[in-house]
Amino acid sequence: MPRQTYNIAMVSDFFFPQPGGIESHIYQLSSKLIDRGHKVIIITHAYDDRKGVRYLTNGLKVYHVPFLVMYRQATFPTVFSFFPIFRNICIRERIEIVHGHASLSNLCHEAILHGRAMGLRTVFTDHSLFGFADAASILTNKLLKFTLSDVDHSICVSHTCKENTVLRASLDPLMVSVIPNAVVAENFRPRDYKESPNGSGVFGPNTSPNRLGPTDIITIVVISRLFYNKGTDLLTAVIPRILENHPYTRFIIAGSGPKAIDLEQMIETNVLQDHVEMLGPVRHEDVRDVMVRGHIYLHPSLTEAFGTVIVEAASCGLYVVCTQVGGIPEVLPSHMTTFAKPEEDDLVAATGKAITAMRSGRIRTEKFHDQVKKMYSWSNVAMRTERVYDGVTGKISEEEFYGFDTGGYTGSRIRNFALIDRLKRYYGCGIWAGKLFCLCIIVDFLFFLFLEWWQPRESIDICPDWPRKVPPEEKRHSSTSRGRDPS
């Protein structure tokens, strides 16, 4: 049976040219899905001069929706104004699955809401952790609960993130999958990396580790935005103590942010100018060049959903010292990392241990790259995401997708599109919120009926598809299974 391919719309406020983790996640995932024979478009809002319809490599089409910008500046959620244009795009691209990204993206929530009203399958990916206590979090969580009440499936980047999302949005844990981020390992090679001929490096000549002498300099790299939640205060506190205990170490700090001034003050007061180098902001493509200058990567973050940067560091052949918060403990195997509690004493002790281990040559950092390459690849992420798509569209049966539920829940997890069933799901959101959400849904549905009359489906031109790729494993089977039959 040929593998089914889908027309997918990735919707998020965050996309290139703005740099960031979510942006590159969407891009990498989309291009790998295209490689697997799917059709993917991206819907985002316009950035300055980046508006209209654009194509990226591989025929990845990006819609920079322009008219949202004036509202974006005022950060006003345009609940219904996005619907006509979203419907138009979905119809002309023959979208089957709407995939929203990032819980702070207003566009993503609206797309999921309208997508369900139009009878499309929806998937949501959460990239970040949130608290439960402050006012902003409570609002975001309520909004999240609203849109996720009716979403077909959710994806989180780590198990910690999943736990967080399940609690915030009161979801059924079985309806949340964990698919981690990945790195493009080719962009994060160690300094003297030689591609072993058989690709695995297992059968290559066993080089002895280059042992560092007691007076050789060990360089510790820190690359992060210098914000409170990234643990810059912790870093400011530990650097003098580490340098006191281990004089033959150096620090390289890259990144900018409001806490940079604290670091500079610390350097001034302790006279550490020749021990600590501050590089300022570094572009993502230059991160590797900074990383390979060091031996140890220090990650003092206070909260982190996944922490792609530590995977990148390990891929560059750096030993990682990090705080045991959020999703970080799941990311790397224990022989690549030393964990510390997010406090000063423990971080100093952990870094000390790491420096001693590096000097004794017990850590084989030169093997890290190949190991990371095997663990994290975007093709794998795309494959797992595709399974989620199969599950929500009913390509694989419910029993197979969700497994047997021992919790005693007997209802179906396939979300049907009947308005009354959708309303039931929203009604459970809260005493007042439930009624408000139901009202929103009814208005949305009426608006949908109005749009069907105002802009009939037949009056919307269908886009020609970019020539689809033949998935590699199907090439030898037949040449007729090119994507879906264009109906």
Binding site: G52, V53, V65, I85, R92, I460, D461, P464, D465, W466
Partner: protein, 229 residues
């Protein structure tokens, strides 16, 4: 009924010339002709009524010459007297009196703009048509029909050596994404959109694009959109 969806008409007066017209004019049938005549008559009558209302309002003002000074019978038929005579007849008739009393009731700030809007509405064309004329070796000429009967068609000629490319693009327009044909002109910042008002459907735009390139460059386009999709 008087208009249709934009459709394409191609005229080829010579092998090196092609005119692509996108128009909302439906194919002429007897019923349609009669309907158009009725529409024209209706428009004329409406115009006459508006003129009557305005002039009777003028008569009610202290500056106007009274109705009694209007000639009761023209001395010769081929003079302005005839016009005044007919205006006088119209105002004295029952319909003229009714319209006059009507004009007296409407306040002036409402009457004048209202009449102007109605006159503009009468002058509006029912159909619109936009065309692209391709002349091999010379260039292309775009033209669009004016909105009213009073203006003349807006045309623009682009010589071949100034044309950098002709292509189909898509863009956001209002609440939708539309396909459109553009001509990139050398030395100009903005592109020239062909059929800017009607923005016909994709199949029309693609057909015009293909044939215009063929006609202009004597060969089929080097690249194309996947026809099968």
């Amino acid at each position: 009924m008087l208009t249709t969806l934009p459709h394409l008409r191609i005229r080829r007066p010579s092998p090196t010339t092609a005119e692509f017209t996108v128009t909302t004019l439906p194919p002429p049938t007897l019923a349609l002709r009669i309907l158009r005549i009725i529409l024209i008559v209706f428009r004329l009558l409406l115009f006459l009524a508006i003129c009557t209302v305005l002039s009777s309002r003028w008569l009610q003002s202290p500056f106007a010459a009274p109705l009694d000074t209007y000639p009761l019978w023209p001395r010769t038929w081929l003079s302005t007297d005839t016009l005044w005579y007919m205006a006088g007849c119209l105002h004295r008739s029952r319909l003229g009196v009714a319209l006059g009393s009507c004009a007296a009731r409407i306040p002036l700030p409402l009457l004048v703009p209202g009449a102007a809007t109605l006159c503009y509405g009468i002058a509006l064309r029912v159909h619109s048509s936009e065309s692209l004329l391709v002349l091999r070796g010379l260039g292309v000429q775009t033209s669009e029909s004016p909105r009213t009967y009073l203006a003349s068609a807006a045309t623009r000629f682009i010589p071949t050596e100034k044309i950098q490319d002709i292509f189909v693009n898509e863009a956001f327009r209002g609440f939708e994404v539309r396909y459109y044909l553009v001509v990139v002109v050398e030395g100009e910042e903005d592109v020239v959109v062909v059929f800017p008002g009607l923005l016909p459907r994709r199949h029309i735009v693609e057909k015009v694009w293909r044939e215009a390139r063929e006609c202009l460059y004597e060969k089929a386009p080097r690249w194309g959109i996947d026809e099968k999709a």
